[in-house]
Symmetry: C2
Amino acid sequence: MSASGEGARGEPPLPSWNEGPTKQSIIDFVRGVTKTGDPRFVKPEERIAVFDNDGTLWSEMPAYFQLAFVFDRVKALAPQHPEWKDKPLYAAVLGGDLKTVAAGGLRGLLELATITHAGMTTDDFSKIVEDWIATARHPEFNRPYTELIFQPMLELLAYLRAHDFKTYIVSGGGIEFMRVWADKVYGIPPEQVIGSSIVTKFEMLAGVPVLTRLPELNFMDDNAGKPVAINMHIGRRPIAAFGNSDGDLQMLQWTTAGNGSRFGLLVHHTDSEREYAYERSPLGTLDKALTEAEAKGWTVVDMKQDWKCVYPFETKG
Amino acid sequence: MSASGEGARGEPPLPSWNEGPTKQSIIDFVRGVTKTGDPRFVKPEERIAVFDNDGTLWSEMPAYFQLAFVFDRVKALAPQHPEWKDKPLYAAVLGGDLKTVAAGGLRGLLELATITHAGMTTDDFSKIVEDWIATARHPEFNRPYTELIFQPMLELLAYLRAHDFKTYIVSGGGIEFMRVWADKVYGIPPEQVIGSSIVTKFEMLAGVPVLTRLPELNFMDDNAGKPVAINMHIGRRPIAAFGNSDGDLQMLQWTTAGNGSRFGLLVHHTDSEREYAYERSPLGTLDKALTEAEAKGWTVVDMKQDWKCVYPFETKG
């Protein structure tokens, strides 16, 4: 990850962002809240910035990356579950019949995620994710998923942190799925990763205390759940929020409705060549949030226009 | 709060702790985990210390301080609830009949807490707590509750932080009750306060996004709930845990069962003159944890023997 603290070594900030109003809106906001004596000044401990993950920090096409993990888990666990062959949803995953899987909707996917993410300790689950993320490849880019992160957003994270912001992930993805690699990939430590979760239970196994993961949804960190989770985990209202879909709308509303200087930003996927161009992902939509962005003056990133490069590997020739 | 980073100004650490094995065990642990090259060394980002609050950082007698808040809330809300006069539990609170209240047990108290802590936005609730904590007085000491904090524990918090520990509260008390004053009183910011909670709901009130508190328990952060909450909020296993009752047992088990250098400590209330002497509080017991402390080599603070002073005001003559 390349740091880009403005002035740190005299480098201009956000090198992968093209000059223009988008980049300027970020720089103006950061300058205002960090300038002592400025009416927009915000104390360092209150400089909280929250980032959605899927579609905001890394890609989410052709489907949420965690879904590939879910499907791979179904396949890995299938030998222990002969009964899955007779369950249409599981049989569809095993047979690669994504149309039937999609027909099961969010509910079906949640069931698959819950079932395949449970039945082991938290430590064992972390190891499973660690192994998977190190070996799995994106079906179209044929690269590890952790390479399909957005270089301009990495620079933005570093720029904010160089100005004493605390950066958080607030994602519909699994909290324990993301925590395994978020520190290495984004520089965001486990305690600053917030996500959806299943229930865990403390118990003694042969005299050793463990946390066992149960096949039961605990919290869905999406839509109206995002401000609720922010309040629960952080206990402060962020001053900046970054998202890319209607699932981030309430987080942006909550963040930008606070007093003083606030910043909201949406990543609009407009680049069919370097990434993807869409306003609808298989599970998400950018519609209401885009309308509200205009009304509220949130920044909208036009990926094609505003970003010099999308992925870190593009710059490594 | 007086800081006491060892060597910071050449001051010896933990000045309110008497010399002896208790104090020495703390210093030995901190020296080990902070000394580069030592096999006990722990990287700064993994130096997580968790503290129970009631009976560990401040007193909890004659009853948990938050209960006084609950009772005051019942009284303040009674005029809007004429029906409470006919409900035995509420009538008992209003009539000062603590015996009947106690007979309702934890379940009754939880109901009272849930009802009186709900029905407003999170911002409004914070204001209510802020006003209460500024004006309420302890029935025996006749001082603000925030003065009945333990000076030796303040020094311990500061000592750990001076050695790059991140200090967290993990308490059965209300998360939003504690966050209002924990930063000012203990130097622990909102995002490092973990506690019990009721459900909050995001909604729009006249176009303004708010989080409304509902009369429904969300999470009970006690006993086996503590390691679950630690995992949810921090996502790392702490290396040091501090408690005073069986409600902290699982937190200490979970913390000290990790690999490498670990530290567990129990505060034993043995000082009937300066504070209180008990192994049973109205809602908590120190029994199993004391037995396990001996077996596991956890440090047990004998408040009367180990602490030069209990409260900060004692030293201010």
